[in-house]
């Protein structure tokens, strides 16, 4: 199978591209960078900014499947316009291109962030694919629009809503890495009575899920949205303070009712608002073979994140 992986030089796209190439597929990756030389035996399309329709002319022919992992997730400096351009504009272009070039399946990387709940929304948990989409960030809002475009496309598609992804090669702005760094430098954060949990997934399991979907569901019609997560969520206090030994304190009724008034970034600390039920993923035969609590200490040791 000839697979195009957009954003194939990034954290999740990169792992996906490598795993597809190892499984013997012909992989083409796109990157906006001018020269990227770590492609191995993958074909690299450089200077390919998918938000510009002219870039589509650079893409090779004969592609059977597309993994659209290119995206902008800049929670600090990214404007609404930047997110629209890179997440919606680029998705539209790649969809139009996929429709024209007879691609058999397109897997789109979305986020559990489309289920964020802004101020005043009661937390419904665990989340599932049918949970309402109420994004609170510009990133999440752009992904909701992109998901709708993907669902309406005239190619079979799968939308993968990733929970918090961890693994080797994480970007410094990844949630888990940022929180671990915060906990390491801030004693208050490290010892705060945080009771919230989040769903997590290993980047290798994401890559394996994409591979399974492309290999088995190649000609199947739309699979719709799938939340990807390990069945066991991670506790935020363990991310903030890997050595935490305090017994788990479930949030009391007071904390829970106050939590609904907090913005999501604070609420997630005391609440399970980003925990999802990966039932659909299991039903479709997508397995996770890594567990957060086995991998996280290794990452802390080897990746050198912590200052």
């Amino acid at each position: 199978m000839k697979v195009l992986v957009t954003g194939g030089t990034g954290f999740i796209g990169g792992e996906t591209a490598r795993s597809l190439a190892e499984a013997g597929h012909e992989v083409v990756v796109t990157t906006r960078a001018a020269d990227w030389r770590q492609g191995g035996d993958m074909t690299v399309v450089s200077q390919c900014d998918l938000a510009q329709p002219a870039s589509l002319a650079l893409l090779p022919t004969g592609i059977n499947a597309v993994v659209h992992a290119a995206a902008l997730a800049d929670f600090r400096h990214g404007t609404w316009h930047d997110h629209l351009r890179n997440n919606v504009g680029a998705t539209r272009n790649i969809l139009r291109w996929a429709e024209r070039s007879g691609v058999a399946h397109l897997a789109f990387m979305s986020t559990i962030g489309v289920h964020d709940r802004p101020w005043g929304h009661r937390a419904v948990h665990p989340l599932d694919e049918q949970s309402p989409r109420h994004p609170s960030s510009a990133y999440g809002r752009s992904k909701v629009i992109a998901e709708d475009l993907v669902a309406a496309a005239r190619v079979p598609t799968t939308t993968l809503r990733l929970s918090w992804v961890y693994g080797t090669g994480m970007r410094s702005n990844s949630h888990i890495r940022a929180m671990a760094g915060w906990g390491a430098t801030n004693a208050l954060a490290r010892h705060a009575p945080v009771t919230g949990r989040v769903s997590v997934i290993d980047v290798r399991d994401v890559a394996a899920a994409v591979k399974t979907i492309l290999e088995t569901g190649g000609d199947a019609p739309d699979t719709g949205a799938i939340l990807l997560a390990e069945s066991e969520p991670a506790e935020l206090r363990h991310i903030l303070n890997p050595a935490a030994t305090i017994l788990k304190r479930p949030a009391g009724p007071l904390a829970r009712s106050v939590a609904a008034l907090l913005p999501l970034s604070l609420r997630a600390l005391v609440d399970d608002s980003l925990v999802c039920n990966p039932e659909r993923m299991r039903m479709l035969g997508l397995r996770t073979s890594h567990a957060f609590y086995d991998e996280f200490p290794l990452l802390l040791d080897t990746e050198g994140w912590l200052p």
């Binding site: 329709p53 316009h81 629209l84 351009r85 919606v88 629009i145 992109a146 709708d148």
Partner: protein, 250 residues
């Protein structure tokens, strides 16, 4: 998926609105009399109609396309001809009124009649010049007043439930740095008060898709000052003051 029809989309604000809508996941049909719109459409991977809205045949082509599947219409095409009234070519004047007055009214009528799918939004791009007399651009300012007045009337009609669910948005941007100024022969280009068309387009596109849905957007300081002046100054004073000021700009 929503489809939007944008008139005057080969350049300037129309093109930027089309781009902004595409970026927000809306499919766009570009309408312009400039044949360059065809190559733009193939570049942006969207549909286009090449037709001249100052003529009846051209307008009919657009009316035919409004078959209920188009959920957003941005009536943006417009032109101006600089010069005193006594120097105007009668035919050029007729064409301009066709483009700025007749076409938007017919398009609005057809769009409402077609019972469009959601978000069913009609955008009329008027101008900050709608509130002030525009000496040496007399018919242009008058045609913009017509557009604002039409949009406001339709907005109230929509509140009365007479527009088949169509919501009407009137945009009154102040002067922008587009080819419009040169096309009209207006000596305005070096002015620092001109707005960037992409910023105006982003505001309009966000407003079209916003669930709050305002019905009037006045963009830019010039337009806001003119609107305030119109309210506080006596009619004759406002007309002479702004008329002379605007005439000097040109």
């Amino acid at each position: 998926m929503t489809t939007a029809l944008v008139t005057g989309a080969a350049s300037g604000l129309g093109l930027e609105i089309a781009r902004a809508l595409l970026m927000r996941g809306v499919e766009v049909i570009l309408v312009d009399r400039d044949p360059a719109v065809a190559s733009l459409a193939s570049e942006l991977l969207c549909e286009c109609i090449v037709c001249d809205l100052s003529t009846d045949e051209g307008t009919d082509e657009v009316l035919k396309r409004l078959d209920g599947s188009v959920g957003i219409v941005v009536s943006n095409a417009g032109a101006a001809q600089k010069g005193a009234m006594r120097d105007q070519e009668p035919n050029a004047l007729r064409d301009m009124i066709g483009l700025n007055v007749t076409a938007p009214a017919l398009i609005a009528r057809r769009f409402i009649e077609s019972t469009p799918s959601r978000p069913a939004c009609l955008v009329i791009v008027s101008s900050s010049m709608a509130v002030a007399p525009t000496p040496m651009l007399g018919t242009y300012g008058a045609s913009k007043s017509f557009q604002t007045s039409l949009a406001e009337a339709l907005d109230v009609e929509s509140l009365l439930g007479a527009t088949n669910g169509v919501r009407v948005l009137c945009a009154e941007p102040s002067g922008m740095a587009t080819g419009f100024q040169q096309a009209a022969g207006v000596n305005h280009a070096e002015s620092r008060i001109l707005l960037a068309p992409e910023d105006v387009a982003a505001l309009i596109a966000d407003e079209i898709l916003s669930p709050r849905g305002r019905s009037f957007l006045r963009i830019g300081t010039t337009g806001k000052m003119l609107a305030i002046g119109k309210r506080v100054l006596p009619r004759a004073v406002f007309a002479r003051l702004t008329g002379r000021m605007l005439a000097r700009f040109r």
